[in-house]
């Protein structure tokens, strides 16, 4: 994941057939919905 974020210019994130994010890798990693659906939620913290 870290490597991917370094080499791509942009990230498109899909969830249940819909685009939920389109933008810079750094912004994807900070996006709440992206974290929830893809990176995994760590809300317990």
């Amino acid at each position: 994941m870290g490597v991917l974020m370094r080499v791509v210019d942009r990230v498109v994130v899909l969830d249940h057939g819909e685009k939920i994010f389109d933008g810079k890798p750094a912004d994807a990693q900070a996006d709440k919905r992206v974290i929830e659906v893809y990176l995994g939620s760590e809300e317990a913290a």
């Binding site: 991917l4 210019d9 942009r10 498109v12 899909l14 969830d15 249940h16 057939g17 819909e18 685009k19």
Partner: protein, 187 residues
């Protein structure tokens, strides 16, 4: 440039896998499509590469183009779907694999010239032209995937790199530049 405008697609029995997806990949840009299992990544790539017709929406690659075009037509402007697993015909020799890249008639005419070009990029492949692709290392097999696309003008290389990025999903190697490939080949 690749442009998708509100593309929807699905499978049999009315199962819809993509809902109005719009996205753009500019020439030379590497874009990763990510998502959990079942999010629609593969379906999106199948639509882009023409393996699955879109049920709605439009797609353009370089110029006007509908989403319903057959795979062979889409290959012409240099769009290929590469799986992250090195996809070769294992029982064929490496040069026979390269020849598959010149499968469409317009490409066949320039096969010899393009083969020289590919061997220039990947000299090891020339040494191993007779080796069965299934017995090669992953790196060599990846080189073979740069098939001898004979009809492809040099200017489209940058855009193909972007599409490799789309196709490669979470594999960093899919967005290597050609220069990086040369370095890699020397290793």
């Amino acid at each position: 440039m690749l442009e998708l405008d509100a593309v929807s697609a699905g499978y049999k029995k009315g199962f819809q896998a993509l809902f109005d997806v719009s996205m753009t990949v500019n020439a030379g840009e590497a874009v990763a499509v990510i998502g959990a299992n079942g999010a629609g990544k593969t379906t999106l790539l199948r639509v882009i590469s023409g393996l699955l017709p879109a049920t709605r929406g439009a797609m353009r690659l370089g110029g006007p183009r509908s989403a319903g075009n057959a795979s062979a037509q889409i290959i012409r402007p240099a769009l290929l779907m590469c799986r992250k697993v090195a996809l070769c015909f294992h029982a064929q020799r490496s040069e026979e694999n390269l020849k598959m890249g010149a499968f469409i008639p317009s490409a066949r005419a320039h096969y010899a010239e393009r083969l020289d070009y590919v061997y220039g990029l990947f000299p090891r492949l020339k040494e191993r032209r007779g080796q069965l692709a299934g017995t090669m290392s992953g790196a060599r097999a990846a080189d073979v995937r740069y098939r001898a696309r004979a009809d492809e003008p040099a200017e489209t290389h940058s855009s193909r790199r972007a599409f490799d990025g789309v196709g490669a999903g979470d594999r960093a190697a899919g967005v290597r530049s050609r220069q990086a490939d040369r370095d890699h080949t020397r290793c």
